[in-house]
């Protein structure tokens, strides 16, 4: 803390996580010809957040819209290649050779490759289409010839039947007309036409229906199912189809049927009645099929080779195009100088990056052979700079936890520093079991050991979160092992790890009972202290005893209050750090001090009582003491007195607490009003002095100073703050009792699982039941205790930090520093590009 209190600037270099990096608004004037290189180098550096100076212009009115369109087009080509590669089953590989390639060359090359690929595809498609048509044709030939065969044989049968009948039944009974009918039939026979083809199966019913309706039933339709899906020549998709043969008579019917076929996407194929011709056709089609097949294969091979070469360099190209696009997007944010010879950029950069940026600028102007170098200058501004913390992989999850609540105001005290320890610790208080802790530790160690592998690959949503917070989970696991040792719980079983229990049975009878029950005793009545106190944590003898719960509850409850009061005090002290750092004396005297007094005179005193009670072993009732401190402060404490002079102390503390409330409430608004008036008067005189400043940031400056001061608003604000703090100190302290509640729930749940599942199964002396019991126990332990309890303890720890701790000092209304960097463009642009 000591070094933090120094505050007031750059005098605390080692703790750069406590205050965000000092930032500056810089202006770069870059000659037109070296702009591209400069921005590219700055992107490599990643230390400058450009401000959009053309916010009022629409995207296509900006200077580099054409270039963005060009790179958009290149990105489209790359997507096309990727699509093609996916279809062909290639995956873009990381190429070992980083061929140096210019963006202009790349554009030409991409266009060439695209044209080539499109041509190959078109050829391939044409061939494929011809091939598919032939396949369909072959199917039609096969199926239709089956129809004709069966029809012919049945016709022959009928013929012979008819002939036999004619011979057998040539009697007087035979109607005279029959013969005539038969004979005229053949002479008058209309030439039946037919159409063969394939129709998609799902449309077949509708097809049949429409055919029937259109020709008023004057068609004969035969169909056969094609078992395997057929590739449709036109769409190129696999479709299930039926072969059909339609017989019709007359030209009009034919036209209608043709139209219907067309409308249903039924492909028609010529078919001959002549058997010889059929055979001939079949052989011809088969021959052409095999020919086409080889041609298609060659084409495919050629395409695969092309895709292979694309795949080798794909990643590099993609990166290049992305980089190019982001450079132009950045260049579009710069404003064009009046002379149109240089671009003006404004942006935020951390102060430590000044040298690096200047170096990059020099390199850029050297590399682009520019005659004039870029100009770098720092601007004065009253705008609030962005917040930038340099985190590493260990601190970043904790910073994330804080940022999820709100990004710290520029240079505000950052709670992350403390969260690194307090967060896992509060978690562990609720999750105290060293068995569970070890399980958690193993899981997170797995993530940490395979860190290299995991960080390079894409993980699922939840896995990603776990992986991102792996060091946080590591700390949580370590702390829960620690608290687990204190609570002396290992899957709810106590162990005599550090020493034998301090208590033993007084006499023999008690020992026998103990043997019977398996534990030492169900009461503590018969126990006497035989050894020195158990050196670390809770004595295992408490487990299973009748007074286990009252003992642990009282312990954990008091501990929760101690932890809570300590953390809230830390929060208030941090508000002092902020006030000191921003040189805000009002906040020190009229906020920090009364708050500290108020909290500590009530709950600090309670903590003191708890400590005194623990160390002296007194039996005083602390509820009683606290309640009667308010109700009748002058009464005698009687047997609840813990130390001499307690009554006087209580009176003083109570008085202090009552004084602290108006102290917090009343003076601050008046002082602010006075300050505002002073500043306002002074302003009219000092305007001339700072004319240089005003020149540069005219509008900003003015709007800041002429801000209206609404006294009533400020007063109400202060009132709300005061009420919130006063009530909050009670409710927040109570809120810390969740530490006790969750820890109780955790230990009770785990003991239920242990006693009612594992021990019950054990008791049956049956292997199968035991195995089932063990399996259920493991599932319950993992599912409920390790996953759900972890989540709930995490959430409660989160809440304690966000609400109870951070509301004492944290403003959290800043905005994050997003430097222009190529490292970012990696995955974020994937979709939009």
């Amino acid at each position: 803390m000591g070094e933090v209190r120094g505050g007031g600037g750059g005098c605390c270099p080692p703790m750069n996580l406590f205050r965000s990096e000092p930032m500056q608004l810089v202006q770069l004037i870059i000659p037109m010809e070296s702009a591209h290189v400069t921005v590219s180098y700055l992107g490599d550096l990643g230390l400058l957040q450009f401000k959009d100076l053309n916010a009022d212009k629409s995207p296509f009115q900006r200077t580099y819209a054409a270039q963005i369109k060009k790179s958009g087009e290149m990105a489209r080509r790359l997507r096309f290649f990727k699509d093609q590669m996916l279809k062909a089953g290639f995956s873009p590989k990381k190429s070992a050779t980083q061929a140096d390639i210019n963006i202009d060359d790349l554009e030409v090359k991409l266009a060439e490759i695209e044209a080539e690929l499109v041509e190959i595809n078109a050829n391939g498609e044409k061939l494929q289409r011809a091939y598919n048509e032939l396949v369909e044709y072959k199917l039609v030939l096969q199926k239709a010839s089956e129809f004709f065969h069966s029809a012919r044989s049945s016709a022959a049968e009928q013929q012979s039947e008819y002939a036999s009948r004619q011979i057998g039944e040539e009697s007087l009974d035979t109607p005279l007309l029959l013969e005539q009918e038969m004979s005229t039939d053949s002479s008058k026979q209309v030439k039946l036409g037919f159409i063969t083809g394939l129709v998609p199966r799902q449309k077949y019913m509708a097809f049949e229906r429409i055919l029937f309706r259109a020709t008023r039933g004057n068609v004969f339709l035969r169909q056969a199912v094609v078992e395997d899906p057929v590739t449709d020549p036109i769409s190129g998709e696999k479709v299930e189809k039926n072969v059909f043969v339609v017989f019709y008579s007359g030209e009009r019917a034919k036209n209608k049927i043709l139209k219907i076929c067309e409308a249903f996407g039924a492909n028609r194929y010529p078919f001959s009645e002549d058997l010889n011709k059929q055979d001939h056709l079949v052989t011809e089609v088969s021959g052409r099929l095999s020919e086409l097949k080889t041609t298609i294969d060659v084409g495919l091979l050629q395409r695969d080779n092309l895709l292979q070469t694309i795949g080798d360099q794909f990643e590099q190209w993609e990166f290049l195009v992305r980089k190019e696009k982001s450079i132009y997007h950045t260049l579009n944010m710069l404003s064009l100088d009046v002379t149109k010879k240089c671009l003006v950029a404004e942006g935020w950069s951390p102060v430590f990056g000044t040298k690096l940026i200047q170096d990059a600028l020099q390199r850029a102007s050297f590399d682009s052979n520019s005659q004039v170098g870029a100009i770098f200058q720092v601007l004065q501004t009253k705008e609030l700079p962005p917040t930038y913390f340099r985190t590493n992989k260990f601190t970043s999850p904790f910073q994330e936890i804080v940022d999820a609540y709100g990004v710290a105001k520029y240079q505000e005290a950052n709670p992350t520093v403390y969260t690194i320890v307090t967060f896992p610790f509060l978690f562990a208080v609720m999750f105290g079991d060293w068995g569970h802790g070890i399980c958690l530790l193993l899981a997170t160690l797995f993530l940490i050991i395979r860190e290299k592998k995991f960080s390079s690959q894409k993980l699922g949503d939840i896995m990603e979160m776990m992986f991102g917070g792996r060091y946080c989970i590591l700390m949580m696991a370590l702390f829960s092992i620690y608290t687990g040792l204190i609570y002396n719980e290992f899957f709810s079983v106590p162990f005599e790890l550090f020493a034998p229990s301090a208590y033993a049975c007084r006499d023999l009878s008690c020992r026998q009972v103990a043997k019977l029950l398996g534990t030492l005793d169900s009461t503590t009545m018969g126990l006497i202290k035989v050894r020195p106190t158990y050196p670390f944590g809770v004595d295992p003898v408490w487990h299973g005893s009748r007074s286990e719960l009252p003992f642990l509850n009282s312990l954990k409850m008091k501990m929760s209050i101690l932890l809570g009061v300590a953390q809230m005090n830390l929060g208030i002290i941090l508000s002092y750090c902020n006030a000191k750092f921003f040189r805000n004396g009002v906040n020190v005297w009229f906020q920090f001090i009364p708050q500290l007094i108020f909290l500590n005179s009530l709950f600090g005193y309670l903590s003191l009582l708890i400590l005194v009670k623990w160390s002296t072993g007194s039996k005083a009732d602390l509820y009683h003491v606290m309640i009667y401190m308010f109700l009748s402060p002058t009464d005698d404490l009687g047997e609840n007195q813990l130390f001499a002079g307690q009554k006087t102390l209580q009176l003083v503390l109570l008085l202090l607490a009552f004084v602290a409330v108006p102290w917090m409430l009343i003076p601050k608004p008046f002082i602010l009003k006075k300050q505002h008036q002073d500043r306002h008067q002074g302003h009219s005189y000092t305007l001339l002095e700072s004319s240089e400043d005003n020149f540069q940031l005219g509008a900003n400056h003015d709007s800041h100073d002429h801000e209206e001061f609404e006294f009533s608003e400020v007063f109400v604000h202060q009132l709300i703050h005061t009420i919130e703090f006063v009530l909050g100190s009670v409710s927040n302290t109570a809120s810390y009792l969740r530490l006790w509640a969750l820890s109780l729930a955790h230990s009770e749940l785990s003991s239920v699982f242990y006693d009612k599942l594992l021990m019950l199964a054990w008791g049956y002396n049956n292997v199968i039941i035991l195995i089932v019991g063990i399996i259920v126990f493991i599932c319950a332990t993992v599912g409920v205790l390790l996953v759900m309890e972890t989540l709930s303890a995490f959430l409660h720890a989160l809440r304690l930090h966000w609400v109870e701790f951070q509301n004492k000092f944290y403003e959290g209304d800043g905005y994050k520093f997003y430097p222009f960097s190529f490292a970012w463009t990696g995955d974020e642009d994937e979709l939009s590009l």
């Binding site: 995207p59 296509f60 489209r76 997507r79 309706r213 139209k259």
Partner: protein
């Protein structure tokens, strides 16, 4: 049911209402249109649209764009959204959603029949059809020679079948007949939709009756104006008006006898809601009428979103999107043909 929508609506309709309101938030705003109107070529339009919800649909289009591609892709997005909603919908919302597409179905039928009459290629015609109004056997429409056949062959399977009962004649199809058929179908459709909405009751009935009445009245005016100077008799004209709406029945009687546009105007100015529309136009002018009607419609459609727990938002959303696509088409055409001065002629700002 009225008054209790808040209690029960969300059981089935809540999710979809949320979805449709989300979609509505993606409609282009006036500033978008302003930017679009400033575009120099179609690539600029694409670039601007890529920042909107249309982005994913346009991003893979190779660079020389055509107006038709833009419109096609934008329509595709609407169709995708519609299909998603239809899949999620339960009765009676799914029927309601299906009703929305019948109008397109009628248009498609008329398009194909007219096209075949003029011996166009069926596939070419199919491409021009609105994808929302497609049904399985639509291509077979080309086979039909007269309305009876049309009905018997194809339409009997479609939801349009009941609407056809009024217009079956054995006359051969010609342009006039087809136009009458379209209007008769539309009349039957609007009346059916109106009845359906009344049956649903509650806020849906209230709002939809307003929207559909407006639609019916607009059609009545259009029919009147278009039939002036044709051989359509007054009685026939009267028969094409839908039997509901603000103009029904007295306005219809008066419209039926109108001989020129100024008489129509005279009739319409008696109705306060339409007075403002006609007040914007000078005498004898009918070009701007369409736009004026569209503007009024958009205003009413937007108001449908002001109330919660009813189905009219789906209707309103579909209509607004269609208007937006019409706007985009107009802007793209103007940009493509270098007629930027006319860009504002037909664009209806939605917000």
């Amino acid at each position: 049911m009225y008054g209790f929508e808040a209690l029960t609506f969300n059981v089935d309709g809540g999710y979809l209402e949320a979805i449709v309101r989300g979609h509505r938030a993606g409609l282009l705003t006036a500033s978008d249109y302003n930017n679009l109107c400033q575009c120099e070529n179609l690539d600029d339009i694409k670039m601007h649209l890529s920042a909107t919800e249309y982005g994913p649909y346009l991003q893979n289009e190779p660079s020389p764009l055509h107006t038709t591609t833009i419109v096609e892709k934008c329509t595709l997005k609407l169709v995708d959204e519609y299909k998603h909603m239809l899949c999620q919908a339960t009765e009676p919302l799914s029927t309601f959603l299906e009703y929305i597409t019948y109008g397109h179905m009628i248009d498609n039928v008329v398009l194909i029949v007219t096209g075949t009459l003029h011996e166009r290629d069926v596939h070419e015609l199919l491409e021009k059809c609105h994808p929302l109004g497609m049904f399985d056997s639509i291509a077979t429409l080309a086979v039909a020679q007269n309305m009876r056949e049309l009905y018997r062959l194809v339409l009997v399977d479609t939801p349009l079948a009941p609407y056809f009962s009024e217009c079956i004649t054995s006359e051969d199809l010609d342009d006039m007949n087809i136009e009458i058929m379209r209007n008769t179908l539309y009349k039957a459709y609007l009346e059916d939709f109106y009845r359906f909405c009344q049956k649903l009751g509650g806020a849906t009935a209230e709002i939809m009756s307003d929207l559909l009445s407006f639609e019916a009245d607009r059609r009545a005016v259009n029919i009147t104006i278009n039939s002036i100077g044709t051989e359509l008799t007054r009685d026939d004209r009267r028969k094409l008006y839908s039997n509901f709406g603000l103009l029904y029945p007295y306005g219809h009687e008066e419209l039926a006898v109108c001989e020129d546009i100024d008489q129509v105007r005279g009739v319409m100015e008696k109705y306060p809601p339409y007075q403002s529309i006609f007040a914007k136009m000078s005498y004898g002018e009918s070009q701007m009428l369409d736009k004026a009607f569209y503007e009024e419609e958009v205003k009413r459609l937007c108001l449908a979103f002001e109330q919660q727990f009813h189905y009219a938002v789906f209707f309103a959303y579909m209509r607004l999107r269609e208007q937006e696509i019409r706007n985009l088409m107009w802007i793209s055409e103007c940009v493509a043909q270098n007629q930027k001065s006319r860009v504002h002629d037909s664009v209806v700002f939605i917000f």
